[in-house]
Every structure is written in C-alpha cells, then in structure tokens.
Amino acid sequence: MKYKIVSPRVGTPGDKFEPEAGVNVEALLSHGFIVEDTTPPKSAKTITNNPKD
C-alpha cells in the first residue's frame, strides 16, 4: 500500500509517505494526516511496429 502526506506535520504535503518501523499507519489515516495513494501506476508504453504507408 502506498500513502501520500496530507499534513505538514508529517512532511511535505503531496510527497510519498514511507512509514518507519513501528509507526501506527491506521492512526495517521484515521485523522487525515496521510491518505492512501490511489494514483494508478503508469502503464508501460507500447511500441508498435506498424509503419505508415
């Protein structure tokens, strides 16, 4: 699961949050300090060998 920082008390808002050992992620989520990052991963570029006429 990936997380994104919301509160400046945790870090720079918008940055990726990587929990350190022992950090209670549920507590941070429940009070809005961080949110789950639901941004879908970029799909791989598909190169087609379809030369134009």
Partner: protein, 139 residues
C-alpha cells in the same frame, strides 16, 4: 562545565507527526532494572542488570484542531508507536554526535488525558510512553 539550556531547539515527533510546537518538556529515560545478587559473604548489596525499561514523558499543549495534539494521540491509546526526541529539530532528521536522536520503537501509550480544563489557563497534558526498544542515532 557541562550544561544544556533548552530555549526552543528540541524536536519531538510522535507516530511520525511533529509535535515540537506543542511540546514544553520531554524526558527520555533508559532504565536497566536492578536485580539484587547479594549473597552470603557479601558486606554490601550487589546488583546486576535485568530487563531494560524505557520511558518517554512529554508535556504538551492540548489542541483539538485538525492535525494537532488530540488528533495525533487519540488513536494511539492502547497501541504502540514510534516516538523520537532530539535536542534539536535538525537532529530528528539528521542526527549527529552533538544532536543525537533518541527513538523509542514499540512505545506503548497507556493513558491520554482527553481534557484538562482550568479557567484562564492554556490546557496542557502530560503523557508517558512505556516500553519498546530505545535506539540512539548519532549519524
């Protein structure tokens, strides 16, 4: 002469949340429990080290605003978390020999005073994290 005067430098984070601007006191205690090993023939009491027992006590201003004291601590009661204290704010992120960062991992919060109200005074609370493993980072 070795003295340390704290004006505004120390840094405190609880569960990755910086509470430096709400904290007025932080005490980190590393205790090695004393087990008595005095035996016949001894003329003085003798002790050996037992289990280590850690404690961090914080005095904080209470605030119920979003992302403040109450929001940080409410969900931690009865659970374990990570608490960091350094003699400087910079030491939390980049510790050094003169700015050590004390990290208590697996620290248990037994109790949280949810309200401490007195007329004409800023509300403050005192909380204690117990147990866990204390590490000291100097680099």
């Amino acid at each position: 002469m070795a003295t340390s005067t704290y004006l505004s430098n120390p840094g405190v984070s609880v569960n990755s949340v910086s509470l430096t601007d709400q904290c007025t006191s932080a005490v980190v205690t590393n205790t090695a429990e004393a087990l008595e090993s005095t035996a016949f023939g001894s003329t003085s009491r003798v002790f050996v080290s037992g289990l280590f027992s850690q404690e961090i006590t914080l005095d904080l201003y209470m605030s119920y605003a979003a992302s403040e004291t109450y929001a940080t601590l409410a969900a931690l009661v009865g659970t374990t978390t990570t608490v960091k204290v350094s003699n400087t704010v910079a030491g939390l992120a980049t510790p050094s020999a003169t700015e050590p960062c004390f990290t208590l991992t697996g620290a248990y919060l037994e109790a949280l005073p949810v309200i401490n109200a007195s007329m004409g005074e800023l509300s403050t609370i005192s909380i204690t994290f117990k147990g866990g493993v204390l590490t000291t980072a100097v680099s």
